[in-house]
Amino acid sequence: MSPALPDRGTLTAIYRKMALIKFNDERIVRELKAGRLVTPYYSPRGQEAIPAAISMHLQDSDYITTIYRCIHDLLAKGLPARLLWAEIAGRVTGTCKGKGGTMHLTHPETGCMVTTGIVGASMPIACGLALASQVRGDGRVTVANFGDGASNIGAFHESLNLAAVWKLPVVFVCQNNLYAEHTPLRTGTSVERIADRAASYSIPGVQVDGNDPVAMYHAAGEAVERARRGGGPTLLEARTFRFNGHVLGDPGAYIPKEEYQAAQAQDPVPKFRQWLLDQKQAEAAQLDALDAELLREVDEAVAFAMSSAPPEPAELQRDVYATATA
C-alpha cells in the first residue's frame, strides 16, 4: 500500500527545507575552508530529507532534541539561520550568545530544546520533554534525533524502555548514515536493521529510506500521529549517508570509494529537485526563484553573523546559576 502523494505545496515545502539545509551547509564549509569561520563542524550533507520531511508534521510548539550533527534538524524545525550563523561564529547575537556553539545550538521558541555532544544523551532528555507534555496534556510531540552508533549506548535502551512503559509521545529517529565516526555499522552494531530493536520494547520499529522525502514523509507522519493521539513511542530508522565525513576535514579513508560514489550519485537534494520537475510537481522557474531566495537568506545570515560582536568576558559569570556569580 503506497499512500497518496503529499500535495504540491507540501512537496515544495520539503524541497525548500532540504535546499535551505544544503545551502547553509555548503556555505559553512566554504567559510571554514577559507578560514573565515573556525569551529569543529559535523556536516549533515546528504541527510537533508529526514528532518525536512519530519518537520512537515510538527508545529513550532513541538519539541526536538538533536546531536552535534544538527544544523539540518534545527533549520528544518525553524531555528533562524542568522541566529545559527552568529552562534557558530561565536558572536553574542548567536542563539546561545556564542556560549554554546556548534554542538549546543538551542532555540526554545522553535522547539529546538537540546543539542548535545554526548552520544545517546538526546534520548533520555527527549523522554522528559515528552513526559512534561503527557502530564500537562498539551498535545505536543517530541522528536529525538540520534545516529546509528548511538543505538549501541545504554541511554538508547533506557530511553526506549522508559518511553514504552510510560507510553510517552516521542518519536525516536535514528539517522543511520552507516558510520559512527570511522566505524562502519557492522563493526559496532550487532543487528542488521536497527529498527528491529523496537521489539525489545514492544513498540513499532520502522525502517525507511531517509533519502526518499516522500517515504520519509509518510513514515514520520504515522509515528508523529501515533505519539500525538497517545499511542506511545516509535523507533524510526532512516537510512542515509553523510557526504563530508564525521567532522569536516575527515578524509573518510575508511569509506570504500565505490560506496561513497554510489551514495553521491543519489544525493537526495538534486535528486528530489529533479523528481519534482519530472513529476510536474513544480516548475523550474519556481524552484530557481526559491533557490535564489534561500541563497540570499544565507548571505544575509552570514553578513549578520560576521558583523556581530563577540560576547563580553562577563558572560563567564552569567548563566552558570540563575543569579550571576561573582
Partner: protein
C-alpha cells in the same frame, strides 16, 4: 497517612519532614512531579517511605521508574527544561555514578550552554551514609564531585526542620540541586518545621555560638560537631558550630565572620579527607584569614578507603567524636 500521624506529634523525624515537604510542594505547584524506583505507593512509596502517599494523592505526577537512572534523570532534565519542577530520586548516592552524564554534562551546563534560554530547575534526591553494613557500593559521600561541577547546588540537611525547609527551597529553586539525605539519620527526632516555610539555600546556620574555635560540619557531621562542642564546654572550651546546610554554594560570609572571631577552625565530614569539601574550606580560610588564623585549619574525615563491611571496620572508618576533639585541641596548642 504517615504525614497525618506525624503532625500530631510534638517532634518529627527526617523521613516525615521530607515527606511533608514533598506533599506541600506538590500541593503548591502542579509543575512539581516526582519519580524514581519504588517511589509510587503501589511499590511502597519509596523503599524507606519518604514518598509515601504521594501517588495516592497526586496520581501520575508520581511514578515508579524502571531501573534506569540515566533514563529517568535525563527525563528529569528534559521535563525541567520544559518548565516542570521534577524531583527525581536516585535511591543511593553511589548510583549517581550510573547517571553522572545527565547530572554533570547536562543538568549543570544547559543554562550556560544555551546562553540562558533554557535551564533545569530539578532536584535529585539521594540517600547515603555508613552505619548499616551495606559495604563498599552503598554508602559513599560524593558531594565533592558535584561541588566541583559549576552549575549545580548541593544541599545536605542535618535535622528534620532543615530537611523540610531546604527541600522546599530546592524544589522551587531555579538551579539543579543535588539533595543528599543521610540514611542513618532518617529516624532522628527533631523540632517540627513550620509547614510552607522555606529555608534559603546558600545560608549556613550557627548551631552553637562560641568564641574559642569554629567547628564546621554538614549533614551528620554538623550534629557530631554540636555533640563534641557540648563536651568541650565542660572543659571550658567554647566552640562555635556552623551547620553549612548548603555545601555548594558555600556561605563564606558566615564562615569567615566566625573564624575571623575565633581564629581557629576544624572542618568535619563523612567523606574521605583527600580532595574533599574540607580541603576547599581550608584553602579559602587560609587565603582569606591569613592574619586572623591562630592555627592551621584542621580537617576531620573518614579513612582513605572504600566503606568496609565488618561492623568494627565500618565504625573505625567513620571519624569519631574523639577525632574531632583531638583536632580542636590541636588548634588550641
Amino acid at each position: 497517612m504517615e504525614a497525618q500521624a506525624a503532625t500530631k506529634a510534638a517532634k518529627v523525624n527526617i523521613l516525615q519532614a521530607l515527606n511533608w515537604a514533598l506533599h506541600d510542594a506538590m500541593d503548591a505547584d502542579p509543575n512539581v512531579i516526582a519519580f524514581g524506583e519504588e517511589v509510587a505507593d503501589p511499590e511502597g512509596g519509596g523503599i524507606v517511605g519518604v514518598t509515601a502517599g504521594l501517588s495516592n494523592k497526586f496520581g501520575t505526577r508520581v511514578r515508579s521508574t524502571p531501573i534506569s537512572e540515566m533514563g529517568f534523570v535525563g527525563a528529569a532534565v528534559g521535563a525541567a527544561i520544559a518548565g516542570m519542577r521534577p524531583v527525581a530520586e536516585v535511591m543511593l548516592m553511589n548510583f549517581t555514578a550510573v547517571c553522572m552524564d545527565q547530572i554533570t554534562n547536562h543538568a549543570a551546563k544547559i543554562r550556560f550552554m544555551s546562553g540562558g534560554q533554557t535551564h533545569a530547575p530539578l532536584v535529585i534526591r539521594m540517600m547515603t551514609g555508613a552505619g548499616f553494613g551495606t559495604g563498599g557500593q552503598h554508602s559513599d559521600l560524593l558531594e565533592a564531585w558535584f561541588c566541583h561541577t559549576p552549575g549545580l547546588k548541593v544541599v545536605m540537611p542535618s535535622n528534620p526542620a532543615d530537611a523540610y525547609g531546604l527541600l522546599l527551597s530546592s524544589i522551587f529553586d531555579e538551579d539543579p540541586v543535588i539533595f543528599v539525605e543521610h540514611l542513618p539519620s532518617y529516624w532522628m527526632q527533631g523540632a517540627q518545621p513550620t509547614r510552607g516555610e522555606r529555608i534559603p539555600l546558600g545560608q549556613a546556620r550557627i548551631a552553637r555560638a562560641g568564641k574559642d574555635v569554629t567547628l564546621i560540619g554538614y549533614s551528620r557531621s554538623a550534629n557530631d560537631c554540636a555533640a563534641v562542642a557540648d563536651k568541650l564546654a565542660r572543659d571550658g572550651i567554647d566552640a562555635e558550630v556552623i551547620d553549612l546546610r548548603t555545601v555548594q554554594p558555600l556561605d563564606m560570609d558566615t564562615i569567615l565572620a566566625s573564624v575571623a572571631r575565633t581564629g581557629r577552625a576544624v572542618v568535619v565530614h563523612e567523606a574521605v579527607r583527600s580532595f574533599g569539601v574540607g580541603a576547599e574550606i581550608s584553602a579559602r580560610l587560609h587565603e582569606k584569614l591569613w592574619r586572623e588564623l591562630k592555627a592551621p585549619v584542621q580537617r576531620v574525615a573518614s579513612a582513605e578507603c572504600p566503606v568496609p563491611f565488618a561492623k568494627n571496620l565500618e565504625t573505625a572508618f567513620v571519624y569519631s567524636h574523639a577525632d574531632i576533639e583531638a583536632a580542636v585541641r590541636q588548634t588550641l596548642k
